[in-house]
């Protein structure tokens, strides 16, 4: 084992880049900041690969389980006598894997943006924000304690906000950013309260001691209960709320489709590959705690994931904005990962779901980033997001077309691409554990193939729309990342995940279950064929279906009116029913009573101020009358 303490540089380098690019923004030549950002990210990625190689493959002989290493840790703030917040680095299989995912996608996005964002105002600002995001995300996955995770959690939230509202002159982008931040912030409140409870029970923030299956927290639990459930269950459920918010699980998903207002590379990096899987990562990080401490919550995780994946897949079938289709697809795939965690066991060959989830996280990051970057290239070429205005693009954008097709096949679970293997493992894990969820996911796999190929055929085949400008292939800076990611999507199944990333660090033995593989390939193929029938050429079938299932279509097209529901809650209830009355109450009751005191004082003085007229003659009159009265009284009393 080598000394890993240099890993602290992995998050710090992007932070440095953020300060450099942020402070020189507007003064430096935009192109230069692009180069600096990309090179910096390249260095970070190189370090991460080195760490991954050393961690996974350069192990002392005879080492069995992967250790959790904390090569760097420093006290940041003392909260109470026992509790202190540390900042540091934790290396274990999942964090090292995430390092690779994040730096790879981030590097690709940096490279891609050099072409995509060329000539945009705020080019260096864009790179500064990307660096801030990379820093926060790397800090999040490397966090050795839950509080550092929370810190970085908030920071990725704000980077996401800044990047979604990157085109700040566009009102839609601004409100989308606001929505994303507030919805996730609301979920983060759950996370925070969860941390409060958890740290109170365990007296520590430290992941290693918290999740140790032989540790005090898991073996002894806590005697504290609230409303019949143990405090640990509450804490973990609330923490899951935070994770669900970030990972756009139903019903906290509403921010993700809107977040597509941001620049497309941002959607690829943040809203497809890295930040949105933070919730999955959080559950995976605390997995032993969930599994031993609160199995009920794990069931909730599984059902939430399952429901979200179905829900989002249905919506994705009818959306027309290509980025929104991809956004719903992301939700659906993250649902898969959550479900896999939810149905997973721990250790001794029961941890298939865990491994599958992490595997799918990895492959999904690659192919979804590829899909988004491909969508970016398409949008870049035709200047619209609406797939009804596209068609026949395979001639104009050959590289994009091929890479996009690979991505579509990967997400549809067609062998031999990586998505097939990861999805298959998830289905196997679900099959073992919960048959209902298995069937749901099996159906979702078909729907996924359908909507992805609907998108694919609509964009690259079908009617030839007359474009104002002939679409042309993107520059190399944009196509190169596409090719690299396509390659990664094809070959990532070669990474032996079952040996490297497992719930307990030991090797997991998997058998291929043909009873699952065959139906899953079949359902994917069916989806593709249906899409081919409906959308390859102009066909009347889709319109007919729309008219037959008019209500379902309308509900699905409007995303089941979730946005409207939230709008109702925020606008009508919080704004109109709480905030406005409070503002009114403050002005007209609290303040008015203060003013009322002043008014009473004023009136009292008003009623007696006539006595102090300032007229000497009146004073004299009173004075002399008084003297005379006194004099007479005196005389009367004296001489009586």
């Amino acid at each position: 084992m080598i000394d890993f303490s240099f890993t602290i540089l992995i998050p710090l380098l992007p932070l440095l880049l953020f300060f450099v690019l942020g402070l020189t923004s507007g003064k430096m030549k935009p192109v230069l900041s692009g180069y600096i950002g990309t090179l910096g990210m390249f260095a970070t990625a190189a370090m991460s690969y080195f760490v991954a190689f050393q961690y996974f493959f350069n192990r002392p002989a005879g080492a069995e389980a992967f250790e959790k290493i904390v090569p760097f840790n420093t006290v940041w703030l003392n909260l109470t006598d026992k509790l202190h917040i540390d900042l540091g680095v934790l290396l274990d299989p999942i964090s090292v894997m995430m390092l690779v995912v994040i730096t790879t996608v981030s590097l690709m996005v940096h490279l891609y943006s050099m072409g995509y964002m060329k000539g945009e105002t705020g080019y260096s600002r864009f790179y500064a924000f990307l660096s801030l995001f990379s820093f926060s995300m790397l800090g999040l996955v490397l966090a050795p304690n839950i509080f550092q995770m929370y810190i970085c959690w908030e920071l990725v939230g704000v980077s996401s906000y800044l990047l979604i509202s990157f085109y700040y002159e566009k009102p839609a982008a601004v409100s989308a950013g606001k929505k994303a931040f507030i919805v996730t912030r609301f979920a983060d409140l759950g996370f925070l309260i969860g941390i409060l409870i958890l740290s109170y029970i365990s007296g520590t923030f430290d992941f290693v001691s918290m999740t140790d299956p032989q540790g005090a927290l898991i073996t002894q639990g806590t005697p504290l209960t609230f409303m019949g459930l143990s405090a640990l269950t509450w804490a973990l459920a609330l923490i899951f709320v935070g994770g669900a918010g970030k990972s756009a699980m139903f019903p906290l998903h509403i921010w993700l489709p809107d977040a597509m207002e941001g620049p497309t590379p941002v959607s690829a990096l943040i809203h497809a590959a890295t930040m949105v899987v933070a919730g999955v990562y959080l559950v995976a990080r605390l997995f032993p705690l969930y599994y031993f401490g609160a199995p009920d919550v794990l069931t909730i995780v599984a059902y939430t994931g399952g429901f979200t994946s179905l829900f989002a897949a249905i919506i994705a079938c009818v959306q027309t904005d290509i980025k929104r289709v991809l956004a719903f697809s992301t939700m659906s795939q993250i649902g898969y990962m959550m479900l896999a965690l939810g149905v997973s066991g721990y250790g001794e060959n029961h941890g298939l779901g865990f491994t599958a989830s992490m595997f799918h996280l990895f492959t999904h990051a690659m192919f979804k980033a590829l899909l988004f970057l491909g969508a970016g290239a398409i949008i870049h070429a035709v200047h619209t997001n609406n797939m009804n205005e596209m068609g026949g693009l395979r001639k104009y954008l050959p590289i994009t077309h091929i890479t996009f097709l690979i991505a579509c096949l990967t997400i549809s679970g067609i062998p031999p691409f990586s998505g097939f293997f990861s999805k298959d493992e998830i289905l196997a894990a679900a099959f073992e554990n919960n048959k209902i969820l298995f069937f749901v996911e099996w159906a979702v796999a078909g729907i996924t193939a359908f909507y992805m190929f609907r998108l694919y055929f609509n964009v690259f085949w079908g009617k030839n729309t007359n474009y104002k400008h002939t679409p042309h292939e993107s520059p190399l800076t944009m196509t190169l990342p596409l090719m690299i990611l396509a390659f990664a999507s094809m070959v990532s199944e070669l990474i032996p995940f079952s040996k490297l990333v497992t719930s307990d660090g030991l090797v997991l033995h998997i058998q291929t279950e043909w009873i699952i593989v065959i139906p899953s390939v079949l359902v994917g193929a069916t989806g593709i064929v249906l899409a081919w029938l409906f959308y390859k050429k102009e066909s009347a079938i889709p319109d007919k279906l729309v008219t037959t299932f008019a209500t379902t279509y309308k509900w699905s097209f409007n995303k089941f009116y979730m946005d409207e529901l939230y709008l109702f809650i925020t606008k009508k209830i919080i704004f109109k029913r709480i905030s406005q009355p409070i503002a009114w109450f403050d002005r007209n009751v609290v303040d008015a009573s203060m003013n009322g005191i002043a008014w009473v004082t004023n009136k009292m003085s008003d009623s007696i101020k006539g006595l102090q007229s300032g007229q000497l003659q009146k004073y004299g009159y009173v004075f002399i009358s008084g003297v005379i009265i006194l004099a007479f009284t005196f005389v009367y009393v004296w001489f009586k």
Binding site: L77, Y168, M594
Partner: protein
Amino acid sequence: MDFLTLFVVVPVLTIIAIVFTKNMKQTRLVAAVGMGIQLLLAVALVFMYLAERKAGNTSEMLFSHSYVWFESLNIKYNIGVDGISVAMILLTGIVVFTGVFASWTVEYLSREFFISLIFLSTGVFGFFISLDLFTMFLFYEVAVIPMYLLIGIWGTGPKEYSAMKLTLMLMGASALLLVGILGIYFNSNAGGGELTFSILEISKVHIPMAAQRMFFPMTFIGFGVLGALFPFHTWSPDGHASAPTAVSMLHAGVLMKLGGYGAFRVAIFLLPDAAKEMSWFFLILTGTSVVYGAFGAIFQKDLKYINAYSSVSHCGLVLFAILMMNRAALNGAVLQMLSHGLMTALFFALIGMIYGRTHTRMINKLGGLMKVMPILAVSYVIAGLANLGLPGLSGFVAEMTIFFGSFQYTDVFHRVLTISVAASIVITAVYILRVVGKILYGPIVNKEFLKLDDAHWYERLSTGLLIVGIAGIGIAPLWLSDMINESLSPIMHQLLNVIVK
């Protein structure tokens, strides 16, 4: 002369120097130099304090001196500092210094303006160094009175009304406070010995319970009004809205902290038994402040009103944490005072700068400012993010410390309060992002705005310094939090005695 007295002498000398200046340029230069020296002194004090502590000086108050100035009543000019007052002095130094730059272009009666401003700061500095109740009260009044002139003369909008309201409410509070202080004074000989105003001496005697019950609410509310305690907070929105920029900065940034500091140093420290007993009632009030202020802010349309309500919420959190009375929460309270002082000063400075350019503070008349004044806009975003508690900026550190401190209580009452108070961070996000989205982002709503210029050097200096302070606390809070922490020992000792009984 001892070092601490310099904090009172330098402003007075600056005022004398300003009297002899001839025009605005000279005046502001003299003011800037004077307050610059003051800031340097404050920084020096921090280093001297840390050095002294490192050298092993463990006495409760450092650099203390005592001069009798009214023998028969045993009133002393008794000064000294601990980690908390050092931090507050540093805060005041920064805010006053930046305040001078924020009012760089005050032309109307500029000499009188700066004299009042610096006079006010004298009161604040004096308040923080005093260890004698009477001297403390005196400096408190010195700080409150110039406020009336500053708002009444240099303010905007219904300034006479606001100035009057603010001053009367604060005066009403100080009347309560005076009674409370006298009550403490006349019970300070409980252990035999003579009556005294000295905080340290009083803390050693046990004031009879009956007296504590009577005077704790008086002192707490007396200071609480200054800290915008619900329902006595309504001076704050009107006062801030009418006050000129520097005055808003100083008022929200520092003067409101006098309330928190006083409640901590006098009400809790000297009357701990009653504080324990009655805290539930005031916790409800302050908890209401926090949530109520945040909700109130959502609906406002004037930038300064939004900030004033936000201050109600954040200062409510200070008082809330003080009433929690454990080490972490108290530490958080002091951190929150510093954090809120810096960020609200930044906010008001920026609002003043935006108002100075656009001549409006109504959010529906502003829009797209990011395009025309990027530096000011970015600073505003940073202030906003600090306000909503983003990690890496000061607000987060303070809020987290408070929440963790308050969560140490195991009973349902405290837990529920803590969680509802923690919920305010979501509401804060709502109103901050609403403002940022409306005024900075979006298209430019008014063609006139295109002609506006970005920050001048003095404005950059003032916002830059405040941002450095906010980020400094946010990134490396450990030294500050430790400095405060070890100064909490005496008060913790007091409170522990109560629990034992």
